[in-house]
């Protein structure tokens, strides 16, 4: 049955491939696939034509099940289309539309095939209309399966993007900066209770070693909540830094955070300062430097613009 049924679908598609192509393309353009400008018409044409070709081949070889090996090429192609759309920020609907908008042109082609059979008259009409329901079902099932495949790839691609961004953020947001010879600062921003903390800590300790730093200022102005877990991470970092021979100063504890820490019962056994500037001044004193006011030097008038 599948052989026979799909054979007829295959014939219908083969006979009307050009109509299917132009109707399909028109539908996608109408639905605004190009409006965003993320994909060019020429590219869409190439994708559509190539996909129809492999779909026709699969059908001609008797497939109606998207998981059948004959549709391997078709799925590969969808994987590519879906992946590139996922990367380019297409919505799920825009991505799925590639396959789903093929339904109507396919049904139209089937109808045309049946009408053609009808014009031959006699038994052909009855046979054709009896098969119509089955063809419709086969095509629906096939396109739905291919559509789902598209969505799966799309979601996987998005997940990959999110995971990559997560990794980038955890690197980006933990820079250790040198303020002076032997003085480092670690401005923390965001939530501290993920795997990020591990990265932060290792980064700081490595930089302390690399630069033989004596003092590390950990600034938490950008940390929205300090709970017991955050406090514990801070304490561990301070203890580890101490083992590497560096003293820590914690700065940027805002008043509301300070009050909350007192209620929690958390004690940071470490020098703390309200601002990074205050902490820097303390750090300079400890390494035997001071910031002094220099006499104002008038810049010579010449050479100034």
């Amino acid at each position: 049955m599948a052989q026979n049924g799909s054979g007829s679908v295959a014939q219908a598609v083969a006979a009307h491939q050009d109509e299917i192509f132009s109707e399909w393309l028109a539908l996608q353009m109408e639905s605004g696939a190009l409006r965003s400008g993320r994909i060019k018409e020429a590219e869409l044409r190439t994708q559509c034509r190539a996909f129809l070709e492999v779909l026709r081949e699969g059908l001609a070889e008797g497939g109606t099940d998207a998981d059948a090996p004959v549709f391997g090429r078709a799925k590969e192609m969808l994987t590519e289309v879906s992946r590139s759309r996922g990367m380019q920020g297409f919505t799920p609907t825009e991505t799925a539309a590639f396959v789903f908008s093929l339904k109507r042109p396919m049904f139209n082609a089937l109808n045309r095939a049946i009408e053609a059979a009808a014009s031959e008259g006699g038994g052909a009409v009855r046979a054709a209309s009896a098969a119509t329901a089955r063809y419709t079902w086969d095509v629906t099932l096939l396109l739905d399966q291919l559509g789902l495949h598209t969505m799966e790839v799309f979601l996987k691609t998005r997940e990959e993007v999110i995971a990559r961004q997560g990794r980038e953020i955890s690197e980006l947001s933990t820079p250790v900066v040198k303020l002076w010879d032997g003085v480092l600062a670690l401005p923390l921003i965001g939530t501290l209770d993920s795997e990020r903390t591990q990265v932060v800590m290792e980064n700081l300790l490595q930089t302390i070693v690399d630069q033989s730093a004596e003092i590390a200022i950990i600034d938490i102005t950008g940390v929205p909540t300090v709970d017991t877990l955050t406090a514990q991470h801070l304490l561990k970092t301070v203890a580890a830094a101490r083992l590497m021979g560096a003293d820590c100063i914690v700065s940027g504890i805002r008043p509301q955070i300070a009050q909350t820490m007192v209620h929690l019962g958390v004690e940071l056994d470490v020098t703390s300062k309200a601002t990074l500037a205050d902490a820097f001044r303390v750090a300079l004193t400890r390494i035997g430097r001071a910031v002094v006011k220099a006499p104002r030097v008038e810049a010579p008038a010449a050479g100034r613009r």
């Binding site: 939530t191 209770d193 929205p224 909540t225 709970d227 017991t228 509301q256 209620h263 929690l264 019962g265």
Partner: protein, 134 residues
Amino acid sequence: MEAAAVFEIRSSDDVVRVRQEVRARAVAAGFGLVDQTKIVTAASELARNTLDHGGGGAVRVESVSQGGRRGVRLTFEDQGPGIPDVEQALKDGFTTGRGLGLGLGGSKRLSNEFAIDSAPGRGTRVTIARWNSR
């Protein structure tokens, strides 16, 4: 914002989510920065206890008002192992894990109302509320 909403606590991302939801509630109730920080921090502690000790659960977040004062009430619930000795668990420094053992007692001190209902094998329910002090 609905008067009450329930959020699952199954991962540490969910803990972050709970903090954000509670912060939004506190702001909506007109809380100042200190009150906001207190209830958000208490929520963070209890959410992580639900996750780490209770094996996951959920929190019900409610906007409440009483005698013209507005507040936020949170009910954390899990079907975990429960707490055999609640009084001991509330003591500062007591932990069965590797924490500081300050979360439970701390969240009590950070709240205006605190109730805990727990029994071995049944799970744990902790309810806290904080009122706008302005």
